[in-house]
C-alpha cells in the first residue's frame, strides 16, 4: 500500500526524476539484451490500423502482471523486471493522480481515454473478451491485472514477440514521455522508419510469424490489406497523374492554401472539361468529320457550307485580302460568318448514320444523331458526377455533426498554414491569424452586446435599402440587356433582314478602306457592331462591375461578423451571375422559339434569311459571350492587377493611396463558375466548345498564376473557412442545374432546323432517343411513354422529396443522439472521478472530500448506490450505463 500512497503524494507538476532515470536505464538494459534481435512488428507509419499483428498480452517472468492493452497496435512498455511502483511512478501527472490499486489487487487507472478507446477497440485484443475485463471496460476503467481469462496458449508468448515489445519500448524516442502516452495517447508510439524496416525484413525472412491469428481472421486481415493496398495503388496512380502540382505548390507557398483553392478549382474544371472534350472528340467530331469526308457533295444529307452562313450576302469575298482578314478576325471573335460553316457548331454535322453494307442490306452501325444527343447529356452527367463526388466527400466529413462550430479551435489548431514557405507571407499570415483571433473574441463579446432599439431599426431599414439597391441594380441590368438585345432582335425580325448578328456591309467596308465615308455611315457601322456584341458586352461588364459594387455595399451594412458580410456579398454576386446567364439564355430561347416553329424556314431569298439554323445561332452567341468574357477577364486582370501593381511600385503618389491588390477568393471562384456555366450551356450546340474550354482554363491558370505570384498579396480577410468548399460545390451544382434546364427545354421543346444539324427531319431533338427506345421492345417503350407523363414526373419528384425528408429527420435525430451521448461522456467522467476519489479515500483512510469539479447531482446519485463493496459498485455503474436514457435514443 505504501507505493500507492507515495503515488498520490508525488508532485503533480513534474515527473519524479529518479523514477524516470531508472526507467530509462531499464530500457537501455533491454536494448542491450536484444541488441541482436531484429524481429519487429511490421507497421506502416500511420496505417496503424492495417497492422495485421495484434498483440497478445504477454506473461512476464517475475511478477505476473497481464496488462490489458488499450489497443493492439499500441507498443506497450516492457514489463519484465518491473514492479508496479516503478510503472506507476513514472506515469505522467495526469494519469498518475488518478490511478489506483484496489484492494482486490486490480489496478485502476482512470485514464480519460480508456473509457472511449477500450470500449471501441476492445474487440481487437483477445483478452478483452474476458468477462472481468469487459466489465472493467464497461465502466470505463483500465484493469491492469487480469490473467485468469487467458488460455495456456496465450501464456506461451513467443520470445520473439516479447523482444519486439522490449525493443519497441526501448526504441522510443523519449521513453519517459512515451510511458505516459502508453496510457493516455494510444496511437502515439509510432515506430520510426528504421524500426519499421527492420520489421519488414524480419517478416520477409520469417522471423515474425503470423501464426498467432486464427485462420479466418488472418484471411480477413490479408484481404483488407490487399484491398487497401490496391486502392492506394490506384490512388497513387491518379496522384502521379496530377497536373500542375508544382505550380499549385508554388502558389500555396507564397499565398497560402486559401488562394491555392482557386487553382485547385481550376484544375478540377480542367479535368471535367478534358473528359468532356475526349467524349466530344471521340464520339461526335471524329465520326462527323469522317462522314463528311466520305460523302460526296451531291448527297442530299450533306449540307452546303454556304447554306449555313446567314451572313452570306455580306461575306466579304475574294479580292480584298485586308478586308478579308479583318472580316475573318471579327468573325472569329463573334463566332459568325465563316465559323458557322465549321465543325464548331451543331449545324455542320450530318444527319446520316454510319452504315455498313453487307450484301444488299444496309446496317446502321453508328447512329450519329443518337450519339450526338447522348453525348450532349453525357457532359452534364460527367460534371454532375464530379460535383457529387466532391459533395459526398465533404458530407462524409461534416454530416455527422453540425451542432456546434469550433471557431476558436479552428483558428488556433488549424491556424498555421504549413504550406507557406515565404517569410513575408508567413508574417502576413500570422498577422491575419492574430486579426481573426481578436475578431473572434470581439465577435463573442458582441454576441451578448445588444444594440439599442433605435439602432436596430435603423439597421434594418438600412439593410432593406441595400438589398433593394442590389436587387434594383440586377433588374436594371436585365432590363438594359433586354431592351438592347431583344429590341434589336425584334427590330431586325420586323425588317425581316438577317438576324445572325454582326454584319459588315461590303460597300461600307470598301468606303472605309478608301477613306470616303460619312460620319453617319460610321456611327451606323458602330451601332451595328455594338448591337451584335451588345449582349455579351453588357453581360461581361456587369460581371466585372457588380461584384465590386456589392463589395462596397457590404461595407456599409454593418454586419456583426465579417464572415456574414463575405457570404452575403458572395450570394449576391452569384445571384447576379445566375441572372445574367439565365437572361441571356432566355433571350436566346425566345429568339429561337419562334424560328423553331416556322414550318418552312428556308426561303433563300437574298434578303430574307430566317434563322436558317437556330442551333448555330445559339452556339454562336454563346461562343461570342465566352470570347468576350475572356477578353474582359484579361483586360481586367491587366488593369486591376498588373497595371495597378506597376503603378504602386513606381509612382509614389499612388503608393500612398492605393493598396496592393488582394486575391479575392470567393469572387474569383464565382467568376470561374460563371465561365463554366457558359461552357456547359454551349457544349450541346458546339461540340468543339469543350476544346475551347480546356484551352481557356489552361490559359487562365497560367495568367492567374503569374499575376498572383508577382502582383497580388494574400487575402487578409477570413475567407469563409468553414463553409467555403461546400459553398463552391453548391454554386457549381446550382449553375449546372440551371444550364441543364435550359438545354433540356431546348431538346424537348424545339423543332430542330430542317436544313442543318444531325437532327434535321425530326420533329423534336429528343426523337432519336425515342426511336431507339421504341424500337427496342415493349417494356422500355412503356416506361418511356409513362415517363413522359406529367403525373409520373410529379410523383417521382414527391417520392424524392419524401426520401430527402426522411434522411433529414434521420440526421436530426442522430444529432440529438450525439448531443446526448456527449453529455453522457461528461457525466461519466464525473462518475469516474468520483469513484477514484472514493477509492482513494478508502485506501488512504482519509474521509471523502467533496469533489470540486464534480457535478453534485451525479455524485450524490452514485454515492447512494455505492456501499463500499467494489463489485457492487461496478455492477451499479454498469447498470447505470445501460439504464441511461440517452442510450434509448440511439
Amino acid at each position: 500500500m505504501n507505493f500507492v500512497k507515495g503515488l498520490f503524494d508525488s508532485d503533480k507538476e513534474s515527473e519524479s526524476g529518479s523514477a524516470r532515470a531508472s526507467r530509462k536505464k531499464m530500457n537501455e538494459d533491454f536494448e542491450k539484451a536484444d541488441k541482436y534481435n531484429n524481429s519487429r512488428k511490421k507497421t506502416k507509419s500511420g496505417d496503424a490500423d492495417i497492422d495485421g499483428v495484434p498483440r497478445r498480452p504477454k506473461r512476464s517472468n517475475k511478477v505476473d502482471p497481464m496488462e490489458c492493452e488499450p489497443r493492439p497496435i499500441e507498443h506497450s512498455i516492457p514489463m519484465e523486471n518491473m514492479d508496479y511502483s516503478e510503472e506507476r511512478a513514472t506515469m505522467p501527472p495526469r494519469s498518475k493522480s488518478r490511478a489506483v490499486m484496489l484492494p482486490s489487487g486490480l489496478i485502476i487507472g482512470s485514464d480519460d481515454d480508456s473509457s472511449i478507446h477500450t470500449s471501441s477497440l476492445s474487440s481487437h485484443s483477445s483478452d478483452s473478451f474476458h468477462p472481468k475485463n469487459k466489465l472493467a471496460h464497461m465502466i470505463g476503467l483500465e484493469v491492469e491485472d487480469v490473467d485468469n481469462g487467458l488460455t495456456e496458449d496465450d501464456r506461451k508468448t513467443s520470445s520473439i514477440k516479447r523482444k519486439i515489445r522490449t525493443l519497441d519500448g526501448a526504441g522510443k524516442r523519449k521513453s519517459s514521455a512515451n510511458l505516459g502516452r502508453s496510457v493516455s495517447a494510444p496511437a502515439q508510439g509510432k515506430l520510426s522508419l528504421a524500426e519499421r524496416r527492420t520489421l519488414r525484413r524480419a517478416e520477409k525472412v520469417g522471423v515474425v510469424e503470423k501464426k498467432s491469428l486464427p485462420f479466418c481472421t488472418q484471411i480477413g486481415y490479408e484481404f483488407t490489406m490487399g484491398v487497401q493496398k490496391s486502392v492506394r495503388k490506384i490512388r497513387e496512380f491518379f496522384r502521379n497523374a496530377q497536373i500542375w502540382g508544382r505550380s499549385i505548390k508554388e502558389v500555396e507557398g507564397n499565398l497560402g492554401s486559401g488562394v491555392s483553392t482557386y487553382f485547385r478549382v481550376l484544375r478540377w474544371l480542367l479535368k471535367i472539361n478534358i473528359i468532356s472534350m475526349v467524349i466530344a472528340l471521340g464520339f461526335i467530331v471524329a465520326p462527323g468529320i469522317w462522314m463528311a469526308e466520305r460523302h460526296t457533295p451531291d448527297t442530299p444529307t450533306l449540307l452546303n457550307k454556304e447554306d449555313l452562313n446567314c451572313t452570306n450576302p455580306n461575306f466579304v469575298e475574294g479580292d480584298d485580302t485586308a478586308a478579308d482578314i479583318s472580316n475573318a478576325i471579327l468573325q472569329f471573335l463573334t463566332g459568325q460568318g465563316w465559323m458557322e460553316g465549321t465543325a464548331l457548331y451543331l449545324g455542320w454535322y450530318p444527319a446520316s448514320n454510319i452504315t455498313r453494307t453487307s450484301g444488299t442490306v444496309e446496317k446502321t452501325t453508328y447512329n450519329f444523331p443518337l450519339a450526338y444527343l447522348v453525348v450532349g447529356l453525357l457532359y452534364f452527367l460527367v460534371a454532375l458526377i464530379f460535383i457529387l463526388n466532391n459533395i459526398a466527400r465533404l458530407f462524409k466529413k461534416s454530416a455527422a455533426e453540425k451542432i456546434e462550430t469550433k471557431t476558436y479551435a479552428e483558428l488556433v489548431l488549424v491556424g498555421w498554414d504549413f504550406t507557406i514557405n515565404n517569410k513575408k507571407t508567413a508574417q502576413l499570415k500570422s498577422a491575419t491569424v492574430v486579426k481573426s483571433l481578436k475578431e473572434a473574441l470581439s465577435n463573442d463579446a458582441q454576441k451578448f452586446m445588444k444594440r439599442s432599439y433605435k439602432k436596430e431599426i435603423g439597421l434594418i431599414i438600412l439593410r432593406i435599402c441595400t438589398n433593394g439597391i442590389s436587387l434594383a441594380a440586377m433588374i436594371g441590368t436585365v432590363f438594359l440587356y433586354y431592351s438592347e438585345v431583344v429590341q434589336y432582335t425584334s427590330e431586325s425580325a420586323a425588317n425581316s433582314t438577317d438576324m445572325c448578328g454582326e454584319k459588315i456591309d461590303k460597300s461600307t467596308f470598301e468606303d472605309i478602306q478608301l477613306g470616303n465615308f460619312s460620319t453617319e455611315q460610321l456611327s451606323a457601322e458602330v451601332a451595328k457592331v455594338w448591337s451584335s456584341y451588345s449582349a455579351s458586352i453588357i453581360v461581361s461588364l456587369s460581371n466585372i462591375i457588380f461584384p465590386i459594387f456589392f463589395e462596397i455595399l457590404g461595407n456599409y451594412e454593418f454586419y456583426k461578423f465579417q464572415s456574414t458580410r463575405i457570404a452575403i456579398t458572395m450570394v449576391r454576386s452569384f445571384i447576379m451571375k445566375l441572372f445574367n446567364v439565365c437572361v441571356f439564355l432566355y433571350v436566346l430561347y425566345q429568339a429561337t422559339k419562334y424560328s423553331g416553329d416556322i414550318k418552312q424556314p428556308w426561303q433563300t431569298d437574298n434578303n430574307t434569311l430566317q434563322y436558317n439554323c437556330w442551333e448555330n445561332y445559339i452556339g454562336a452567341q454563346l461562343y461570342q459571350l465566352c470570347i468576350i468574357d475572356f477578353i474582359v477577364f484579361c483586360s481586367s486582370l491587366l488593369v486591376s492587377e498588373v497595371l495597378r501593381n506597376v503603378l504602386i511600385n513606381n509612382v509614389k503618389w499612388i503608393r500612398a493611396r492605393v493598396e496592393q491588390p488582394e486575391f479575392n477568393i470567393p469572387k474569383e471562384i464565382l467568376d470561374l463558375c460563371y465561365k463554366q456555366m457558359i461552357f456547359w450551356s454551349a457544349m450541346f450546340f458546339s461540340p468543339l466548345m469543350s476544346c475551347v474550354a480546356v484551352i481557356e482554363v489552361i490559359v487562365i491558370f497560367y495568367l492567374k498564376k503569374t499575376s498572383a505570384l508577382s502582383n497580388v498579396r494574400p487575402p487578409q480577410k477570413v475567407v469563409l473557412t468553414s463553409q467555403s468548399s461546400s459553398m463552391v460545390n453548391a454554386v457549381f451544382l446550382v449553375s449546372l442545374i440551371f444550364v441543364f434546364i435550359f438545354v433540356g427545354l431546348v431538346i424537348f421543346q424545339f423543332k430542330p432546323s430542317q436544313h442543318c444539324g444531325p437532327f434535321r427531319g425530326n420533329e423534336r431533338i429528343h426523337e432519336p432517343l425515342g426511336f431507339l427506345i421504341e424500337n427496342s421492345g415493349g417494356f422500355k417503350t412503356y416506361i418511356y411513354d409513362n415517363l413522359k407523363m406529367t403525373a409520373v414526373t410529379i410523383s417521382i419528384v414527391i417520392v424524392v422529396l419524401l426520401i430527402i425528408y426522411y434522411f433529414k429527420s434521420l440526421a436530426a435525430s442522430r444529432n440529438l443522439t450525439i448531443r446526448l451521448l456527449r453529455d453522457q461522456i461528461k457525466t461519466e467522467h464525473v462518475d469516474k472521478q468520483f469513484l477514484i476519489e472514493h477509492i482513494k479515500s478508502q485506501i488512504t483512510g482519509k474521509p471523502l472530500q467533496a469533489n470540486k469539479k464534480g457535478r453534485d447531482g451525479t455524485i450524490s446519485r452514485i454515492s447512494q448506490n455505492s456501499n463500499g463493496d467494489l463489485g457492487n459498485k461496478k455492477k451499479n455503474m454498469t447498470i447505470h450505463r445501460y439504464a441511461n436514457p440517452t442510450m434509448k435514443v440511439s
Binding site: S14, E15, G17, K44, S45, G46, P92, R94, D112, D113, H117, R173, K174, A177, S184, A185, Q188, K190, S192, L193, A194, R196, R197, R200, E236, N240, G245, K249, E252, G253, S257, S398, K406, A409, E410, V412, L413, V414, G415, W416, F418, T419, I420, N421, K423, A426, Q427, S430, A431, V433, V434, L437, K438, L441, D444, S725, R822, K826, H829, K853
Partner: protein, 229 residues
Amino acid sequence: MGQGTSAYDQSELAEFQDLTYFTKREVLHVHKRFGELAPEKMKLHGRNPTLAKEDILALPELAANPFKERILEVFSDTGDGHMNFEQFLDMMSQLSSKAPLETKIDFAFKIYDFNEDGQICENDLQKVILFLVQPAVTGATLSGDERNQVIKNQKSCRTGNKKEETALSDSQINDIVRNSVITDDQIKKLAGKVISEMDMDDDGSISYLDFKHGMSKLNGFEESFKVTL
C-alpha cells in the same frame, strides 16, 4: 553505398516505398533535397549522414514555419532536432499530402503537446498561440537572432526537464508580445475557449482522443497541415 545520382538501388527504393507514403521517384527527390542541405556532409558520410538541426531548418519549405523547431524535435530520435536521411524521409512522408488524416492528427498532437504529457493543456495552447503570433511579432520588432531566442525561451519556459533557460526572461517575452499584437489576457482567454470547444469530457485539457475527434471535424486541417518538398 554508392554516391552516384541514385544513392539507393531499386530494392531499397521499393522498401522505402513500402515504408513511407512516397513513391520511388519521390523518395529520390527527397534524398536530393536532403543532400542539398549539406553537400559537404553528404560527401563525407555517404548517403545517410546525420544533419544538424540548423541544416535542416535551412530548408525553404520549413524556414517560414514558426513550428519548425518543434517539428524537428518531435521527429528526431534524440529529441534535439538532428536527424539522418531516414528520419527526414519519415517526417516528410508524414507531412506529405498523401499521409492519412489520422497520421497528421497524431503528428499535430505531438507538436502541440509541448510538455509531452499526453494532454494538451491550457499552457500548451497558450504556447501554440504564441507561436502563431510569432512571425507577426518578429516581423514587426525583432531581428532573426532575437527571434530564435524568444522561441527557445518559450519552448523551455514550462517543460522544466528540457535545456537550460536562455537569456530572455519571461517578462521580456511578455513585453514583446504585449508590445505588438496580442495581450496575455487575450491569449489566456483564447486558450480557454479552445479547450472548452475541444474538451469532450470536461476535464480541463484536451486528451489525445478529444483532439483526434475534434480535429477530424475541423475544416482545412488536411489542406493546411502538409509540407510538400
